[in-house]
């Protein structure tokens, strides 16, 4: 609870509820990063709302000393959309997971993204169903062996960033739970973007799917596998930047030695209006077991749904004057009985 107007700290965004994720869960790191970030960017707890669905990640709102709704499975984007339309003065965040946001709630996610409602959507991707104790999820790699797939999963996983770009989301990014600095940078940009911001966060579920993101986190491998997207920079990776991303003639992208890249090296520009290049980037990896781009894929300004909706209300008022209830009831053919 906060009533003072001065500079806030992480504590001002921390509720008195005991955090109940499993010890070691990646969610802790994300929670701490978000709490600190909100204090640092000068957000106000009373103006901030976290809306979640169902799943481990969706307990998040209970730990934030802001307003919050722990809604039902998959529907958080819909609840948040109504709130954002009704209340333009609020910062509305959606916390969802790979099961909540991409499986049962895939429809709402797609429509929130294409509408460009003023929301920040954080999708904690742990490639597993945690709360229901370990079934494969829509982002689990093909052939994943879990409780419900003892002989391996048969369905191709969805690539959350590619899906968001396909829906033409205006801000699309990816980060990693424990990389505090990178995550903070991405989340701050998401916070500042007006319209829907979509951030996929690789989140380790140490109980049911430990090590899913080891390729990007292990100090020995991460330099080989993290492709850090930096605006205005040629896209290279590897300990010495010795590998590069190049554009192929068919519009796809691939890796070569930087020394051989020449003119074909891709220079990162998240502000391109066409999402095509960002989409090609997103296709470089399907599950983060090899070189995988992280950072901001797309960041463009486009009209925001809730702003447009309110403008229509204002335009209607300007054109017709504020509504008069008596006149409304008596609209159409009326007649008097004496």
């Amino acid at each position: 609870m906060t009533t003072n107007e001065g500079k806030l700290t992480k504590k001002d965004f921390t509720s008195d509820r005991e955090v109940r994720w499993c010890p070691g869960c990646g969610d802790y790191a994300i929670l701490a990063t978000v709490q600190t970030l909100l204090a640092d960017v000068g957000a106000r707890p009373e103006k901030t709302v976290f809306v979640s669905g169902i799943g481990c990640s969706s307990r998040f709102p209970y730990y934030m000393d802001t307003y919050g709704i722990h809604s039902i499975h998959g529907r958080a984007p819909a609840v948040a959309t109504g709130l954002a339309i009704a209340r333009p003065d609020l910062d509305v965040w959606v916390i969802t997971g790979d099961g909540d946001g991409l499986s049962i709630g895939g429809n709402h996610l797609m429509h929130a993204l294409r509408r460009n409602v003023n929301l920040n959507i954080l999708l904690f991707n742990n490639e597993i169903y945690g709360l229901t104790k370990g079934q494969y999820s829509p982002t689990s790699p093909l052939g994943s062996m879990h409780k419900s797939t003892p002989m391996g999963s048969l369905d191709r996983p969805v690539n959350p960033v590619a899906l968001a770009l396909g829906a033409e989301a205006t801000f699309v990014a990816r980060s990693i739970d424990t990389d505090r600095q990178h995550l903070t940078g991405v989340l701050e940009a998401a916070y500042r973007h007006r319209g829907t911001s979509f951030v996929e966060i690789y989140q380790n579920c140490n109980v049911f799917n430990d090590g899913a993101f080891i390729a990007l986190k292990d100090p020995k491998q991460k330099d080989d596998n993290q492709i850090r997207l930096v605006e205005g920079e040629p896209i290279t990776f590897g300990p010495e930047g010795e590998r590069a991303v190049i554009a192929e003639d068919d519009g796809s992208m691939s890796f070569v030695d930087t020394a051989d890249a020449g003119e074909r090296i891709v220079v990162h520009d998240p502000h391109r209006r066409e999402p095509t290049t960002a989409f090609a980037l997103s296709r470089l990896s399907h599950n983060p077991t090899g070189p995988t781009p992280i950072g901001i894929f797309r960041d463009v300004d486009q009209p925001v749904y809730d702003d447009l909706l309110r403008t229509q209300v204002e335009d209607a008022r300007a054109a017709k004057g504020p509504g008069d209830l008596g006149a409304l009831l008596a609209s159409g053919n009326v007649w008097d009985v004496h």
Partner: protein, 629 residues
């Protein structure tokens, strides 16, 4: 038609029922709407029954493609669109086939003979032409060349290239309307004005329609085929200003009125579905009243958005029909347990599953009352007539705001599309909903904290604290919570206590409901007719007929289905026989029996049409005969 013959073949009637029937493309709804306006302006009381196919363009000339519009108008106070038509206008054989059976014995039949080709007869399923055999001998049949007359009237328009032949033919509904208007001495000036406005951008089309309309009237006047014309004098309606209104329109206006009287913005989130979509269309036009309409991607998103808007402090409303309500079920439970004020409108249609999208039914009562997981009571209000949809919307808002709960508002396909004259209320007399709630702005806890589930003692409502209010930050959700603090709680006794509290809140609503109005003028009735929703019209009409004939009968109509009014137990026990007519298989009867242990007799029909008064009279007669045995 009942009445007396006046001089020069003008017959004065107390009331009449006219039905226009034709192909979906024949413009019957439009002709019916205009005839309704003319009758309203003539001062009649009236009730309408539009009936159209679920298919947007069913094959022309087939039974499936027949669309009809019935109007009952009277010099008395009436409550139903009428049982059997006195006049049937059949624009083609399929319309005749489908509607002929309903026509009153000896009734008047106007047929468009031009449409009675072999092919159309065959499509309608006629083996021989009914106009040529003796199947219509007991009726006043007028064979009119409606298509041909229309084309001839518009010959000049076609020659001048203002419209082609097909477009000219489309004006035949206006020719039929002109003829019927003449038959009933209806002035057509208003219709002409309406056509001029409607086709303002294409004046040649307006002119063609007006020409056809006048041609119809002139045909009536000049031909000698019509020996009688009819007149229905103005009804003695209560003084005041009137307009015609359909249920969906009234419901939309009621929501706007409720928001204004509560001092809230209206948020309406919904997904298109028959027969509820017109509410969305109506509200989308009213943005200057501060109405935000959101067409969601599906039914679940629609109610999701409404939950978000309610949390943000709007008067938040979603509407659907049975199939959509099924999808909203889980979210309704969430709204209920989060104790947020919002309204879920169910414009019921024929079920189950996709059922009969354009027909009426009352079979979602148990769905909205009990169709949720867990113990999840939700207050439920039902509208009883098209104009009552306005007041029912305000009542739903009152309960939602006062008790911080979702409320279901039941309408149905019949109320949604039917029209009746509505004595306009004075805006100042509408309930002041701003007194039913106040946003919480100060901490309410012992140590300056905020307890989101600390309840009002009288209503048991929890605080409504809006995001943006510093110091009242709180989290709510679908998990069971501790009363007061709202913290998640899995304590066994707490869950039981919270469940009881949520039921107790329903009892508080019941304790504060207005008294039931029992209509038992003689005080001698032994039979009580108890109804809810759109059956009010037919039940009233049936009671009127029974009393006219000397059979005492009492009537009561429930506007609140959950909670039921406290008096129902005593009321039901005070009559020998209680009959409950419903357009379902006895859902309310079952609830009443369970609650009161009174042997309520269901009278049930699910034809997709409202009850006729006659069948309800028969049901009462049967009950009385049985009781006497």
């Amino acid at each position: 038609m009942s009445g007396s013959t006046a001089a020069r073949s003008r017959v004065t009637l107390s009331n009449a029922v006219v039905r226009f029937a034709g192909d979906s493309g024949d413009g019957m709804q439009l002709a019916g709407d205009q005839f309704t306006s003319q009758s309203a302006i003539a001062g009649n009381d009236l009730a309408t029954l539009p009936d159209f196919p679920a298919e947007i363009r069913a094959p022309a000339g087939t039974l499936a493609g027949v669309s009809s519009f019935q109007l009952h108008f009277s010099d008395q106070d009436i409550h139903t669109p009428g049982d059997a038509p006195d006049v049937l206008v059949a624009m083609n054989p399929a319309a005749l086939m489908k509607h002929f059976g309903a026509l009153k014995p000896g009734g008047t039949l106007i047929v468009n003979v031009d449409a009675f080709s072999d092919r159309n007869l065959q499509k309608a399923g006629y083996e021989s032409n009914p106009l040529e055999d003796d199947s219509l001998t007991d009726y006043q049949v007028h064979e009119v060349r409606i298509t041909d007359l229309t084309l001839r009237a518009l010959e000049g328009h076609v020659e001048r290239g203002e419209l082609n032949k097909k477009e000219a033919e489309r004006c035949k509904n206006m020719l039929a309307l002109g003829l019927v208007s003449w038959m009933f001495h209806r002035p057509i000036a208003e219709t002409e004005e309406w056509l001029t406005t409607k086709f303002a951008k294409v004046p040649e089309v307006a002119d063609a329609n007006i020409t056809a309309l006048r041609a119809g009237r002139n045909y009536g006047e000049t031909t000698e085929a019509f020996t009688y014309t009819y007149e229905v004098k103005p009804a003695k309606l209560a003084p005041g200003r009137y307009r015609n209104i359909t249920g969906n329109q009234a419901l939309a206006y009621g929501l706007v009125a409720a928001a204004e009287r509560a001092g809230l913005e209206l948020f309406y989130g919904s997904y298109p579905i028959t027969p509820a979509s017109d509410i969305l269309h109506e509200l989308a036009k009213l943005k200057h009243y501060g109405v935000a309409t959101f067409q969601a991607e599906d039914e679940i998103a629609a109610i999701g958005s409404v939950i978000g808007a309610a949390f943000g402090g709007s008067l938040a409303v979603t509407a659907s029909s049975g199939p959509g309500i099924a999808l909203k079920t889980e979210a309704m439970g969430l709204a209920m347990v989060m104790e947020l004020p919002l309204i879920v409108v169910n414009v019921q249609r024929g079920g189950p599953s996709t059922g009969l999208p354009t027909k009426t039914e009352q079979s979602d009562l148990l769905q909205v009352l009990h169709g949720r997981n867990g113990e999840a009571p939700i207050p439920t209000v039902a509208a009883s007539s098209p104009s009552d949809c306005f007041h029912a919307a305000i009542e739903a808002a009152r309960i939602a705001l006062t008790y911080r709960t979702p409320v279901v508002l039941l309408s149905d396909g019949y109320l949604a599309n039917s029209a009746e004259p509505w004595l306009l209320p004075d805006v100042a007399d509408l309930p002041d909903l701003s007194t039913s709630f106040a946003f919480t702005t100060e901490p309410n806890g012992p140590d300056g904290g905020f307890l989101p589930y600390l309840r009002d003692e009288r209503t048991l409502a929890r605080p409504w604290a809006l995001p943006g209010t510093a110091g009242l930050e709180h989290r709510i959700g679908g998990l069971e919570k501790e009363d007061g603090s709202g913290h998640i709680s899995y304590e066994p006794e707490n869950h039981h206590a919270m469940t009881e509290l949520r039921h107790e809140r329903m009892q508080r609503i019941a304790d504060q409901l207005p008294a039931l109005e029992v209509d038992d003028p003689s005080g001698e009735a032994e039979v009580l007719l108890l109804g809810w929703g759109s059956t009010e019209g037919p039940i009233r009409a049936a009671c009127h007929q029974l009393r006219e004939r000397g059979t005492p009968v009492a009537r009561v109509h429930l506007h609140h289905l959950n909670p039921l009014p406290n008096e129902v137990d005593e009321l039901l026990r005070s009559y020998d026989t209680v009959i409950c007519p419903e357009n379902n298989m006895g859902q309310l009867s079952m609830l009443l029996r369970a609650r009161t242990l009174v042997d309520v007799r269901p009278y049930t029909r699910v034809t997709g049409q409202p009850f006729s008064a006659a069948e309800l009279v028969d049901a009462v007669d049967a009950a009385i005969t049985e009781g006497a045995r």
